[in-house]
């Protein structure tokens, strides 16, 4: 997948409202493979909605979002499943980990679908993130910052054309922010993938090609 085009999209809940100045909603916008995008947003401006539209689990918007010219509304469920395994790596803001599974099991649940990393590589990532001792702890017992790092490891366990990271470092300190930024930068460089990051304030510490205001 080379590009994601957003044409005149607007969340259904915003319809009929006084249009607020936005560089995304009701605009022509293209995310190009290999580039880095930062979407800066205030709360309630539809940041997570945008991610869910691109990731295909919500359709409550007007306008068209297309992948290389294919309207995403036309994609079948098997096609979406393939995209989610091969092209779109998504880190949801709410992380969506399974609290009853251990940190490693949560990551493995994704990795067994993609076979993208070996167990050693995953353990290494835990090491780098400073949560190696939490590998076998149930996620329910991890702090929110630790959970965020588990979710980040999971997002890295797949091939991708686009990393869509919804507030990836909202619960991390500056040091961890840098580590995470480095990991995503490396992964993206390796696969030629784009990184699309949203942020309400604590930006992922990368150099961005494009910065947009939502």
């Amino acid at each position: 997948m080379q590009q994601i085009n957003i044409n005149n999209a607007l969340p259904a809940v915003f319809a009929g409202r006084e249009p607020e100045p936005s560089q995304v909603w009701q605009c022509q916008l293209t995310f190009q493979r290999g580039k880095r995008y930062l979407i800066v947003a205030d709360s309630g401006t539809g940041k997570s909605s945008l991610c869910s539209y691109i990731y295909g689990y919500r359709r409550d918007y007007s306008g068209i979002i297309d992948f290389d010219g294919t309207d995403t509304r036309m994609l079948s469920i098997p096609q979406w499943c393939e995209l989610r395994k091969q092209s779109l790596a998504y880190l949801p803001q709410e992380m969506r980990l399974f609290p009853e599974l251990t940190a490693l099991e949560n990551v493995w649940l994704k990795n067994q679908l993609t076979n993208h990393k070996t167990r050693e590589e995953i353990e290494n990532l835990f090491e780098v993130m400073g949560i190696a001792d939490k590998l076998h702890s149930p996620v329910a017992r991890l702090s929110i910052g630790q959970q965020q790092r588990v979710a980040i490891v999971r997002t890295l366990c797949q091939p991708a054309d686009f990393f869509i990271l919804d507030e990836p470092v909202s619960h991390l300190d500056a040091d961890n922010n840098k580590i995470v930024a480095g990991l995503f930068a490396d992964a993206a460089a390796q696969m030629g993938a784009a990184i699309v990051v949203t942020s309400v304030g604590n930006h992922l510490a990368l150099n961005y090609d494009v910065e947009l205001k939502l």
Binding site: Y57, R58, F98
Partner: protein, 399 residues
Amino acid sequence: MKNLLWKLLRKHISPAQLIGFSIANLVGLTIVILAVQFYNDVKPVFNDDESFIRKDYIVITRTVTGVGAMMGNSSEFDDAAIADIEAQPWCRKVGRFTNSEFSIYATVGLGDSGRAMRSQFFFEAIPTDFIDVADADWEFDPAHPEVPVIVSRDYLSLYNFGFAATQGLPRISEGQVGNIPLAFTFSGNGINEVMPGRIVGFSNRLNTVIVPEEFMKWANQRYGNGGNGNPLRLIIEVNSPGDVKIEQYMADHRYDVAGDKNQSSKASYFLTVIVSIVIAVGIVISLLSFFVLMLSIYLLLQKNTQRLRDLLLLGYSPAQVSRSYVIMVLAINGAVLILAIVLMLIARAHYLPMLEAFELPRVSVLPAIITGFVIMALITIGNIIAIRRKVASLWLLTK
């Protein structure tokens, strides 16, 4: 880290609900297949011993009334009447009795005593498929004339227990009958001929003396006037004897139904009705249990909605996510089916000795097992479709 999916999705499974479903379904399914098996086991009681495939026949005549007799030929069945019977939904096949149109004397030699019995006689013929004597030598060849006849089993009883006993004559077994020297004298059209005859079998169904149709045709041409008259009696193969519609029809048309076949037919009709009711009850129980399982699964999926959604977001397909539950349903339903079959076989082992007196043929249990299998397959398919649809409905998050 195998089966992470199951580890996640088995949450909220309620063993109590599943056990409730299993017991209810087990009861329902057992009732159904036991009823089917019992029906198959008992059905031969109501059948003729000699009919290999279950069929039911009735023999009808027109009611002879004073008025009718004066009107002339009213005791015959004309083509229109036969066509009307053939058009009835309960009728499978109609056979015409052909009567002999010439005079017949039978002479029976009675063993070594040198005595012989001579009596005026009559023949009837019907199409071979209506005859309930198997393997009879049922051919007639004018070149080597010997007339095979089938007589009602009642005649033998009449002779053995009524006649022979009081007249000091030897009793005859069915096996010996073929050896009795029998001669028929036919006369008509100025011809007078004697032919040997042989009793080749006894019929429970036909209360008359039957000869092969080809002989009758030949003899009616030779001694009579061609045998083209309308039949006086008809034999009808029916779907379900004892059907009220048949009785109604016969009464409306003033036809008499011969024999007591109808009695056992009525009993067999009631057996069918009762078994149908029992099967219906079993199916209702099975259906209710099906809904219990449905509810249980819906509840389970409802409680696991978030987990299922999150798995779909990771890239798991609805089919992959459903698989755990589908396997669960298959396992439960498979176990219930096997248990139901075992229970049916145990119950059967208990009631079969009670039926021994009837000397019933061994009936296969396959139809009952297939019935159980089909019902269970339908229930399982219903469950699986429900699971698939429910999971698929989680694909999109609607706000």
